[in-house]
């Protein structure tokens, strides 16, 4: 059974230690919900999990194997959606998604269609992305998760800018991903429509003197 775990993680941004001694476990079909006030390190933790940010202490494992041993394999099994949507304004919605499929070496036009439908993007498929609203761009970013399937989703406030209908669609796709044995780690301030184990980042804030 797939297990993604971290032990004793600490992360530094500039001179400031944002969290320390943080451990987590996510198994296949699990959702880990990161909660905490602004600046408590939710985004930093997600970037650590993605390997974009190196933790100053601690280790992460995938099925008991340290991910640092094979970062390329780790990159292959995760998809990350950050604050920015990485949507190219000059290309259409369909081209944007097809592009990421090509970059990931996926050629599955059925998955592309499913991704468009799941996020309600069918009517917008041929529209240049520069004409999209913030919420529509966010849907395109989320559709990338379905167009290029991978077991681990790392989502940084995925429901920002989404309307209620969009949140519902997101909740359905996250539910399907869990049911298929996927792992979801997401941060959110509001109600993202999915429920799971909560990790409160405030519990791992370093003591004040360490931060100074």
């Amino acid at each position: 059974m797939t297990l993604f775990a971290g032990h004793g993680l600490a992360c530094r941004r500039g001179e400031r230690l944002v969290f320390a001694g943080l451990s987590f476990r996510v198994a296949a079909g699990d959702v880990l919900l990161l909660r905490g006030p602004n600046g408590s390190g939710k985004s930093s933790l997600l970037r650590c999990m993605a390997g974009l940010l190196a933790p100053v202490a601690g280790a992460q494992t995938w099925d008991e194997r340290p991910i640092a041993l094979d970062p390329e394999a780790h990159r292959g099994r995760l998809r990350y959606v950050g604050h920015q949507d990485a949507v190219k304004p000059a290309l259409t919605v369909l081209e944007n998604l097809a592009l990421w499929q090509q970059l990931h070496g996926v050629s599955d036009s059925a998955a592309l269609r499913r991704a468009l439908t799941a996020l309600g993007l069918d009517p917008l498929a041929e529209l240049p992305a520069r004409l999209l609203s913030a919420g529509q761009r966010r849907r395109v970013a989320l559709a990338r998760l379905l167009a290029t399937p991978a077991p681990l989703w790392l989502l940084d406030e995925p429901t920002t800018a989404l309307d209620d209908e969009g949140v519902g669609r997101f909740a359905r796709m996250a539910g399907d991903h869990r049911a298929g044995g996927g792992l979801v780690v997401l941060s959110s301030h509001g109600d993202p429509g999915v429920h799971g184990e909560v990790l409160a980042l405030a519990d791992f804030a370093p003591p004040r003197e360490a931060a100074a």
Partner: protein, 221 residues
Amino acid sequence: MTPFLAVVRRDLQLALRQGSDAALVLIFYLLAVLLFPFGVGPEPNLLARISTGVLWVTALLAALLAIERLFVSEYEDGSLDQLALLPLPLSLVVLAKVLAHWLLTGLPLTLLAPFLAIALGMDESGYPVLVLALALGTPTLSLIGALGAALTVGARRGGALLALLVLPLYIPALIFGVAAVDASLTGLASLPHLAILAALLLAAIPLCPWATAAALRQALE
């Protein structure tokens, strides 16, 4: 299609769709070279004598102008995160982006050079080596420029900083590029100079993308 070629194709597609900076770079090259006859006067002997240097220095400035934006829009819209998470090593992503960039700027620049050489009155015996030297030199300029672009990606006024960082590193390519063309114009062997340009390129192909990837990872942290 391999992910490497997919990155090249993506950058070409984006550039062509956006009516990119590539055309601007060529127009800059054309105009900058054509300013010299106005600046130094239309005396043919003088123009012919400085033509090699003019063509190389303006090519170098045009290359610098073009490379500045290589990572900026990727960084700003979050695509750089996604590119860093591709199964492809980041250094190869960089190499693919530089290749696409060279195809859009360095290659047209190289092909345009002999026509500008006519305008400057360069002796026609120098044209083949001019094209060859630029074909070997401009990829090196793009590779070095990419490193500078990666180091300045998050900085304000990155453009000026980039020029300060990169122009000194362009000097070796400039020296041997000009020397190769001058050698052929004076009837000497240009092969040693071309060989050194090729050696510079061969050193830059593995080293620059590696250092550029490290600089980008720093920018992403």
